[in-house]
Assembly symmetry: C2
């Protein structure tokens, strides 16, 4: 019978060397209410969204048209925009909330690799209270809708967009969750939005989060000459 | 060859009898902005609409929930209701408009037969300036929506309803046209609403009026427990 084998030599990992430094790159995120000073960024994001959908020729929004139609009433009462900001350094604590109804939402995520943002300069945030590396990464535009059957309001999300280099990190979910949280806070009954029926990945994402896709309903749209004509009917 | 036939004897219609009295019953109509005092009628109309759609068990609107959520901001800025009123006598001239943005729309139609309204007492209008035979016949509820691509608002029609005895007279078209006219007046870009895909009569009616049915889009809805859960996400 052979003698008991000697204990195996310790592998390098089992030596007294210190644990490897945790791998990761922190990215600080903030969702805040947009204001009129964000219109230039929102305008660029809308046009990137139109390009992404291959609908650039249908996009006639200008900084002037956005400025004259957004931010004309208090947030949540009408058209409301949340801005997603990203920074490599922590956001300063909020000394005051912008509005009593909403405090900016900050969150820190850890990335495996740093993100190279080729448009960092273009999308540098205009919030003067923040560091110089804060960039705008996306937005969501929503407004109150109403359910006659529930007898109460909800929110309708018209558009949501995250810039290309920041996708697949959960930021879309963060923006949509911020809208959902605000709806719950205000006692609203629903959050709704529209999706293209062939966008199966998006539909799966929405269904996984608990949303129902209303298969039987179709949106009707009256616009341009037909709208003008219908505004002056003969019974 | 036979002699020329004598001229035919005059028929009774060709005699000197006077023309028959024009047949018809005038019905005077008015579309006006609803106010908080219309909530009891709106509440009953919403429940009739729910019954009509066989969705009564999904209808939880109460007078209290409607009162606390409607008419809390000026018309057209948020949820807005037009009321359709009907009368056998002309409406008095408008001494003043309710709001500078909207003057009630009056129109007279001629019916072949008078309408028997079995609910006339229940739906008697509460407008003190009108005669005693004015009844509420229907409503439309709408609110501003927003197109990021156009960079301007539109109107979304959430629900429209005409009581059974007044259907097929063009009142639905009158209500929808009033919304379209207001959209044009305010420089808005679109009027939108939803229709069930199996409601082929409604779809034909909408397409005949020039509306497009967006076949590829589906509405997503987050509500109840799923909304609550999504409001507190972990990225």
């Amino acid at each position: 019978m052979a003698a008991a084998a000697p204990p195996p030599a310790p592998t390098p990992a089992a030596t007294a060397l210190p644990d490897p430094t945790p791998i990761g790159y922190p990215l600080f995120t903030r969702i805040r209410l947009a204001t009129a000073s964000d219109v230039p960024h929102i305008h660029k994001l809308i046009h990137q969204l139109a390009n992404f959908k291959h609908l650039a020729n249908h996009c006639s929004a200008t900084e002037a048209s956005l400025s004259s139609t957004l931010f004309t009433s208090p947030p949540f009462q009408s058209f409301t925009v949340f801005i997603l900001e990203l920074s490599h350094t922590p956001f300063p604590p909020q000394l005051h909330t912008q509005y009593s109804l909403f405090s900016p939402i900050t969150q820190t995520i850890t990335l495996d690799l740093p993100i190279d943002d080729p448009e960092a300069e273009t999308f540098k945030s205009n919030d003067k209270d923040c560091g110089f590396d804060v960039v705008v990464g996306g937005f969501v535009l929503f407004f109150p809708n109403y359910s006659t059957f529930l007898g109460k309001p909800g929110f309708y999300v018209e558009d949501m967009f995250v810039r290309e280099c920041y996708r697949r990190k959960g930021f879309g979910k963060m923006l949509l969750s911020a809208v959902a949280a605000q709806a719950v806070k205000m006692g609203y009954g629903r959050v709704e939005w529209a999706v293209l029926d062939w966008n199966v990945n998006a539909i799966k994402f929405y269904e996984d989060m608990g949303a129902k896709v209303l298969q039987e309903w179709r949106i009707c749209r009256l616009t341009d000459e037909a709208l003008q004509a219908y505004a002056n009917p003969a019974i």
